[in-house]
Subunit: 294 residues, 4 copies
């Protein structure tokens, strides 16, 4: 299949690489040139501009946020000139924008699939992403070979594309809820004389297996938040997405509100560029724990 | 080893049965007679009273709460008359009471180990509990054969017995934090058109494996909270234990406060005897979701 | 002074009427014609359009929200054509927009004063508003006769116009915080057997005099939220203004988050068009109080 | 009337003084002797012990908390020997204890009135307390001359004594809710460039008159929390009273939970002995405001 790929950040680069490796003909575009050069070395073709990418059989995009999607891909003129018949948007964007994007693509006769992913760059490089996909069955069938090259499993979440974004937003909300819960528990433990590392070992060995508790938990126990795998400022962006999506549906989200307040406090204390696990420092500050005993 | 066992509730019964099956000589006592008869059939000996149990080599207790432990086992006269030299208290009690119990036992020359567990009655019956143990190494070594008969793994959490209770209280706090997080996410999903069952499948298949999300999540998705595996009223008891332990250590626990408010609301709506997963109905009520689409 | 007045809602109408009554020559504009007719009867002159109003000595505006101010008054062409040298914006808008408005006016050589008010339409009709004003002293001096006609007191809050909006946003946040506090206390009282009306009488007669507790409190005690003096949906708008302003300054606002969640719940239950005092019904629902005893 | 008075703390001393000044024959008792000497100088008689006080026509008590009331005045033997027929308990205690006290007094044929007060020692000295009274009308009539000597107004809140304590607990909860609201608003203002003192002036001059906002607000604006008029540790005690009373009635109190967390944080930072207004420092710390601009 001739695939156009837009957005070669840490995730997009690894995902496009998987498509090339699977034998697809991939044309890539990125705002900055370095990642393009990297993909070309792997066998991709560079595009002159987005217009060229939009002439591929299928377009896959992995941009940073709503604003980037809106300015680069929801341009009426660009869509009118596009000859592709399927756009698979894998970015983490708001359900509201996904809905609007689907309608706009439909108006121009282009199929639209939302397929945000769960997983970090290493998982993307290994083809081990979990792909949350929504759109018509026919379109999902068409995209299936691409998903198979990039992920370990594809979840089909319904005909309306934005439902995949609802799932992604919910998952990220739960991720940081789990981090906050461990942060509070670790602070309670530490202030009561129990080493947070001991608590973490108990939890991950028993009721809380899986990558979230062990991954974020280790950073919290060590008080080491660099390098950032998931920047705290982006965690705030995602929690705000959850709160906005909930507000649109008239749903109070008290745990989301609590996360937002804690993340704002973290940013006020200079942790915006550190890993989101640094939210744990708010709980420690509230309890006036100054020296760390791990 | 000659083991005395006090407290044959759903958990204690299964644990005492494991000790009998492992070849220990077990003398049992319980407030009501039925579970005693059951254990006797399996090969245990019935005790005339607690005094008799306290003459075993090692005493294991699994009582319901602080009040039961206090009235039955922290009696100065009973402890003075006891000839046992080790009491292994496996109940979920407050760290504050555990600390007092350890001091009182010490005064009477009796070793004290705290060893609360993670796991449900089925896990206890299969010898698959996770045991959170704290006390001196010598005492933990002595109790090790018993732990091996009852659990799949024993975590040693330090010399001070109450640290095991801190771990247990923290774990239960995190358990209900996870339930609340999924409850809010499921409500956000449902109100946005995504089936909570689809969200749960994504989560348990990707970032949140393990028994908590799948077990409680299934109940929430189905809106079925009976039979209760962990009663909501007991969840409130445990969250209050966490809040009290935190307050003793001057630690604010905002997520614990949020859980307490939600659990109180659940009880006001008549859910105290249903499973703790019913806390999810508060989020649905707040969003005015009346008919369930699972 | 020749005054142009834009925005004749319930508040604007009463304020413009005060200016006419004080002997100023007032030219008025409003999107719908009825309030214009009413003011003309009182002695104002109708304007053909906003452009005409912007040729007055001083322009006073009292529009509904950020969007209205942005579309009607921050138009570059309109400002370029304006001959007025002072715009007094009395609407409740975001500090961020006020800052931008001040800069834009400055660019076109027009003075800008922010002067939102505290008080309801009755207070406006009686000239009893509290006016929160900010801008350069010279401009505030120029506007003083207008303020004197409309208010009982003018607070000068600094040279930067947006500071007046910060004060207004903070005041409205505190207003609904007080309402929520009484709502919770009244629920606690009612569920404990004390009539909320008795509690209100104690509070307003002792530590909480003033219009907020007695006004909102009476509605809550009676469970009567119509007619709406301050619509609940607008209360949510204002709380969101406070949260956004706080987020811009990296300030967590936990009470603001709590209010937002409660207001969203109220809207989910159909109370958006009732008075903001209806937020109290969330506390009653949480406690499962169904029949009212006042 | 022959009045016995128990408990001569800052409040009790002033209140007993008012009774002496009004011409009543007052017998006083206090744990420490100095305040007794002071009252004797004013014309009171010292009692040998509590038993003697309990032989007065009417006994008024003003003790520190539940524990003091329980140990000194709910002793079965003391009540059996008492010849008084009315006990007016003016302390801030839990409604649950008040209920139990009323029953116990009834069993011994002694009337019981709950009459906690709103007001500080200066108000007590001037006879300007607000008295929240509950009990049978006949008993309230008997106590009326005493209330008239001590307060500016007596509110009658029903036949069941504990209702007065519900009112008092609710009032103190609202008091600290107002303090927290201003603390957050002042932080929002300060971080946005508006002097908290300016915000306070606006609020107290317009929608929030009365002693709470001006009194606590001034301390917050100045960042001066000593001397303490109402110690922060006692504020936590009172908020816990509200939370416990609410829990007994199955009422979630989210604002109460928020206050509890903030007060615990304050205590963790060493502010327990400063005035409760110091809760405001938590909001400032969360926003990382270090230098004060008032």
């Amino acid at each position: 299949m001739h695939v156009g790929f837009i957005g070669l950040g840490a995730m997009g680069r690894a995902m496009a690489g998987r498509l090339v490796a699977a034998g697809h003909q991939v044309t890539v575009w990125n705002r900055s040139p370095e990642p393009v050069a990297e993909l070309v070395k792997q066998g991709a073709r560079p595009a002159d501009g987005i217009a060229e990418v939009l002439r591929s059989d299928v377009v896959v995009s992995m941009l940073a946020n709503d604003a980037a999607v809106e300015s680069l891909l929801l341009d009426e003129d660009a869509l009118a000139a596009a000859t592709t018949d399927l756009h698979v948007n894998m970015a983490t964007i708001s359900p509201a924008l996904a809905k609007r994007a689907a309608e706009l693509h439909g108006k121009h006769g282009i199929g639209y699939v939302a397929a945000p992913v769960l997983g970090r760059p290493e998982a993307a490089a290994g083809g081990n992403l979990n792909i949350l996909a929504a759109g018509s069955d026919a379109l999902l069938d068409r995209a299936a070979p691409l998903f198979d090259a990039m992920g370990r499993h594809t979840y089909r979440l319904g005909e309306q594309p934005q439902l995949a974004n609802v799932a992604k937003v919910s998952a990220n909300f739960m991720l940081f809820s789990a981090v906050e819960a461990f942060a509070e528990a670790a602070t309670l433990a530490e202030a009561s004389g129990l080493a947070p590392a001991d608590l973490l070992e108990v939890l991950t060995g028993s009721i809380f297996p899986g990558p979230i508790y062990s991954g974020y938990g280790s950073m919290i126990v060590a008080g080491r938040y660099e390098p950032a795998a998931f920047k705290l400022a982006l965690a705030l962006k995602d929690v705000n997405l959850a709160l906005d999506t909930a507000a649109d549906a008239k749903v109070p989200l008290p745990l989301g509100s609590l996360l937002r307040d804690a993340l704002l406090e973290s940013i006020a204390h200079g942790d915006g560029e550190r890993d989101g696990a640094a939210i744990a420092e708010t709980a420690r500050r509230h309890a006036n724990l100054t020296e760390r005993r791990s």
